[in-house]
């Protein structure tokens, strides 16, 4: 099932699937990790869940369903599933207590550094790296039509212009602070600006990139959002002519 997606992208790792703030209580979203479809949802109490995106009854994608309090309801026959993917209610038989094995496979999920992380294998207890600091915010999710290994390699040479700074005398440092998480520091004089890129292997030729960047003001957020949009374009078109707009331009590194 996972032919070409590997070389570092193992199922036993945590992968970011989206920004925490983008998933409000009572909402769900689809996500794909290493070809596996997930439904990621937040219950009314604020807890995030990540499950196999398939109802055990007739196989409907759970992403068509809806959140009902602390359960996720399937859109086909209204079966309600609670913590751990356990079936709680079967509306066709209102008095019935569903058997123990009526359960959707649940994946490990956690929230860290403004992102939701899931593992479809046996990852550790929680995402383990130092948070990027209070000043970083969720900027945007990108989907890049390229292989995860390629996107990861390109991310390790991505550069940016800190908000409000000129272009001169910038020194960049790229570090992989956790598997699939790349931190880019740009130093000029005594100041450091940081961007963090969390790579999500979607399929063999599709990769998610979740961008955290500075964002005190609207202008600053727009500055980094525009950078992220360019990053995506140049990742998909790495042979495009060099331009000073190219976040992957060799000249700048």
């Amino acid at each position: 099932m996972r032919p070409n997606v590997n070389s570092g992208f193992e199922s036993d790792q945590w992968y970011a699937v989206g920004g925490s703030a983008a998933l409000a209580a009572g909402r769900l979203m689809p996500a794909t990790v290493l070809e596996s479809e997930l439904v990621v949802w937040r219950d009314s109490g604020g807890t995030v869940h990540a499950w196999h995106n398939r109802c055990i009854h007739r196989g409907l994608r759970m992403t068509l369903g809806f959140v009902d309090g602390d359960t996720l309801a399937c859109r086909y026959h209204g079966w309600r599933y609670g913590a751990g993917g356990k079936c709680k209610v079967i509306p066709a038989h209102p008095g019935m207590i569903p058997p123990d094995d009526f359960q959707i496979p649940a994946y490990a999920v956690c929230e860290h550094a403004g992102l939701i992380w899931a593992s479809i294998g046996a990852a550790g207890d929680s995402v383990d790296f130092d948070g990027p600091g209070e000043h970083l915010r969720f900027c945007r999710d990108l989907v890049v039509r390229r292989a995860p290994e390629r996107v990861s390699a390109l991310a390790k040479r991505a550069i940016f212009r800190p908000y409000g700074d000129g272009e001169d005398d910038l020194i960049y440092e790229h570090r992989e602070i956790a598997p699939s998480v790349i931190r880019i520091d740009a130093r000029s004089g005594g100041d450091t600006a940081t961007i963090m890129l969390a790579i999500q292997p979607i399929t063999a030729d599709r990769t998610g990139v979740h961008v955290l960047a500075g964002g005190e003001t609207t202008d600053e957020r727009l500055h980094y959002a525009a950078w992220a949009r360019r990053l995506r374009w140049f990742m998909e078109n790495p042979d495009a002519a060099n331009s000073s707009w190219n976040p992957l331009s060799i000249d700048h590194s």
């Binding site: 009854h57 007739r58 196989g59 409907l60 859109r75 086909y76 209204g78 509306p91 038989h93 209102p94």
Partner: protein, 284 residues
């Protein structure tokens, strides 16, 4: 994909369009069980059907119940019998084919299902909290070899175009071949009579089909167009579900999906398909 080798599917009668979809002097190219076929109606009105890559072999054809039927094999049985088509005062509305990207067997199974009404046809054919499915009878009738589910009852906010206000509807379901199913529903305006709604599923490939449906009802209040729109609205609601079931093919092993008492018709349908050795659109 090439033509199926599934004898149980090949030897049945399948619908390939409505009668009016193949007017005199015209041809219609379509697909059946993985095989491209061409249907022609000569100016005199006779329909002939051949495989697209073999114009020499004429396939059997008949026109009945508003539709054109053919078979790639040798039909072992007659077409299903629906005597209601000869009854005075009924109106026939044929809805035309709607393409759905899933197994033809998933289509039939969805049609046999009461429990989805409150969630897929919300406030029309069902609504929370009236979600309970009462016990009903289901059997395979011999010698017809047809599945019948009877004594099905369900609360419906707007059971048909002609219904005003909620009612308990009585249903019977009938499956006459792997791809043909009929629903009998209490007629809201004639005591003791049944309205018919039927699906003739045209299996094109294992995960794509055209669904031809009809309504045969007593109804004096609504136009054909209004009834057609009602049926299409209902079916488009089903389609959004049907194209999102994983896997698209119907698993015939009862352990592959979790079933409950309300699913007995579907369990009988799957076992009946397995007993026939039907594999087109199925996971054995």
């Amino acid at each position: 994909m090439t033509r199926s080798g599934d004898r149980a599917a090949l030897n049945g009668w399948q619908v390939i369009g409505r009668i009016e979809d193949i007017p005199p002097g015209r041809t219609r190219s379509t697909r059946l069980l993985g095989q491209d076929i061409i249907a022609r109606r000569d100016p005199g009105g006779t329909v002939s059907v051949t495989e697209a890559d073999n114009g020499n072999r004429s396939l059997p054809v008949q026109e009945r119940y508003g539709h054109v039927w053919t078979s790639l094999g040798t039909p072992e049985r007659d077409l299903l019998d629906m005597p209601e088509f000869a009854e005075e005062g009924r109106r026939l509305i044929t809805c035309g084919g709607i393409t759905v990207r899933t197994s033809p067997l998933r289509i039939v199974e969805n049609f046999l299902d009461l429990a989805h009404f409150p969630y897929v046809h919300t406030d029309i054919l069902g609504a929370e909290p009236q979600t309970g499915v009462e016990d009903y009878k289901v059997e395979v009738r011999q010698p017809e070899d047809e599945i019948w589910a009877t004594e099905c009852r369900f609360f419906q906010p707007q059971a048909a175009k002609s219904a005003s206000g909620g009612q308990i509807s009585d249903y019977m379901y009938r499956v006459t071949s792997p791809f043909v199913t009929i629903l009998y529903k209490t007629c809201p305006i004639r005591d003791g009579m049944w309205d018919l709604i039927g699906l003739f599923v045209q299996p094109m490939d294992e995960e794509i089909c055209d669904v031809h449906s009809f309504v045969l009802v007593f109804d004096e209040a609504n136009s054909d167009e209004a009834m057609l729109h009602f049926q299409q609205m209902i079916f488009l609601q089903d389609r959004s579900i049907l194209e999102n079931q994983l896997p698209a093919r119907l698993p015939l092993n009862p352990r592959d999906e979790c079933a409950i008492t309300a699913d007995r018709t579907s369990l009988v349908y799957r076992r009946w398909l397995r007993d026939k050795g039907l594999s087109f659109g199925a996971i054995p």
